[in-house]
């Protein structure tokens, strides 16, 4: 990571774009599995949560962000009575996924807005540098 170079603002906002894209991908995965059922006793599908970590904190201005970990959401899965389901156990129950659709959609708005914010920084950095190259004219 080039923290001091002439294009460091582009690198930093690019790391933000990368992180938020990762987050969007994870939300897509969680929502895609909103109907993933399992047999009780097996591991249920658990929503994945992305953990952010600042990059290159040794320099004053920092170096952006990266994904440090992806965690599984905790909590107990819902037990759904569905005796005809081939996944059902002997008492006729299947296990729902541990995903809260409402919170995933809330995260989706946040991730999408963060991505846009980083794009704004990227464009601003690029335009400012481009304008700086014209300072020698005249």
């Amino acid at each position: 990571m080039n923290g001091h170079g002439p294009f460091s603002a582009i690198d930093v906002s690019n790391s933000g774009l990368g992180y938020n894209k990762y987050w969007l991908d994870t939300i897509a995965h969680n929502i895609a599995n909103i109907n993933t059922l399992t047999t009780p006793g097996q591991a249920p599908f658990r929503a994945r949560m992305v953990v952010a970590m600042p990059l290159d904190t040794n320099t004053y201005q920092g170096g952006g962000v990266e994904v440090s970990d992806v965690l599984d959401e905790g909590g107990d899965p819902a037990m759904i009575s569905d005796p005809n389901n081939p996944l059902a156990d002997s008492s006729g129950y299947v296990q729902g996924p541990v995903v809260d659709l409402a919170s995933q959609l809330g995260d989706l708005v946040l991730a999408s807005r963060s991505y846009q914010a980083n794009m704004t920084v990227f464009k601003e950095a690029r335009d400012s540098l481009q304008t700086t190259t014209t300072l020698g004219r005249g």
């Binding site: 170079g5 002439p6 294009f7 690019n14 990368g18 990227f122 540098l129 014209t134 020698g136």
Partner: protein
């Protein structure tokens, strides 16, 4: 009458060579040399952008933002070198047009 000293070369442009990962900054002997060195550095940045673009076009697992960052850097670097070339040429032109 004393002879005019030749126009000194512009030293290595801060950041340009380090951005490309090459630190082969020996003292340039002239303006053309400096511009050539800068163009070489830009060539490195551009070839990085180029390989990203071609792997993206080939369906590789490349982030779009990485491609855009690389192409933006190449574009900016080219602008900087081009501006410096233009300033050098301007200086040359103003000297060549001196009335004797």
């Amino acid at each position: 009458m004393t002879a005019l000293p030749p126009i000194g070369g512009i030293g290595n442009i801060a950041g340009l060579s380090s951005a490309a990962g090459s630190t082969t900054a020996t003292s340039p002997t002239g303006f053309g040399n400096a511009v050539t060195k800068s163009l070489d550095s830009i060539g490195n940045i551009e070839s990085k952008a180029d390989s990203l673009v071609s792997s993206m076009a080939a369906g590789g697992n490349v982030s779009i933002s990485d491609v855009m960052a690389a192409t933006s850097k190449a574009n900016l670097g080219m602008s900087i070198v081009n501006e410096i070339r233009a300033r050098g040429l301007e200086a040359y032109q103003s000297i060549i047009n001196v009335q004797i």
